[in-house]
Symmetry: C2
Subunit: 125 residues, 2 copies
DNA sequence: CCTAATACCTCGTCCTTCTAGGTATAATAT
DNA sequence: ATATTATACCTAGAAGGACGAGGTATTAGG
């Protein structure tokens, strides 16, 4: 329940940049898209209080820029567009994520066979 | 450089439990093992200031228990042993991690083909 | 003898996310 | 007509997790 939130840590910016690399989007839309992609299972939920400050930070860094648009519904939306700088950053973070997740998976899969050894030491559960 | 630290967030407990599931270990050993497994590339580095509080927390929760042992070198080591409760927790966190990382990977790989759509909207980089 | 390595620990700081609030407009229900 | 819900944006402060920097003690090596 609580671990999900923690897992998100650090990969939030990566996810935001990824979404924007697929096309310009506005904040509310990104949250809805992530929510839909995680089948509403709370696996990948991004909160407004998290997203908006991140978008502002990315814009300040020049990784994205924004423009407002009137939707056909009459609503004003603020769209974000990823820049070349943002794309470079995305690639870099993607590499880091891949390296990291592979290492974690390697450790996770390497533990089961050594189960016998775990019981060889003095233990009391 | 800095993103690595953040990526670690949330999966630290999972990694610690994984290491212990492969056999009883002491703190210093776990740090060295993770460092070796990440080829010293800083991808998976766990710091003492992070590990020890986590181990104490896990022990308080009953996920691990500990015993001291005199090594052949004459040094006193504090070994940690994972309990049944800890194993259950490990399995749960493993599932969460797997679900999470798969979703992230799905998003990462789903972005490139939509590149054309990204340029259909009004944009200015 | 003095330094480096082993082995443990903790406190305060920083960074990231969330909670909980706020504003404003459009659509829907009453 | 009016109230509620949904859309769409925002922010300040709280909370949580990892780290840096410090500390202690013992052993090995120069």
């Amino acid at each position: 329940m609580k671990a999900d939130k923690n897992l998100l840590s650090g990969s939030t910016t990566l996810l935001v940049l990824s979404l924007l690399a697929a096309g310009d989007k506005y904040g509310y839309e990104m949250i809805a898209e992530l929510d839909a992609r995680s089948d509403h299972t709370f696996t990948l939920t991004l909160k407004e209080g998290t997203l908006y400050p991140i978008l502002h930070g990315l814009e300040k860094d020049g990784a994205v820029n924004s423009y407002t648009r009137e939707a056909s519904t009459g609503r004003t939306r603020k769209y974000y567009h990823i820049t070349r700088k943002g794309l470079r950053r995305l690639e870099e973070q993607k590499r880091e994520w891949t390296a990291f997740s592979q290492k974690v998976n390697a450790i996770l899969s390497a533990l089961s066979p050594a189960e016998g050894e775990a019981l060889s030491g003095p233990a009391s559960s």
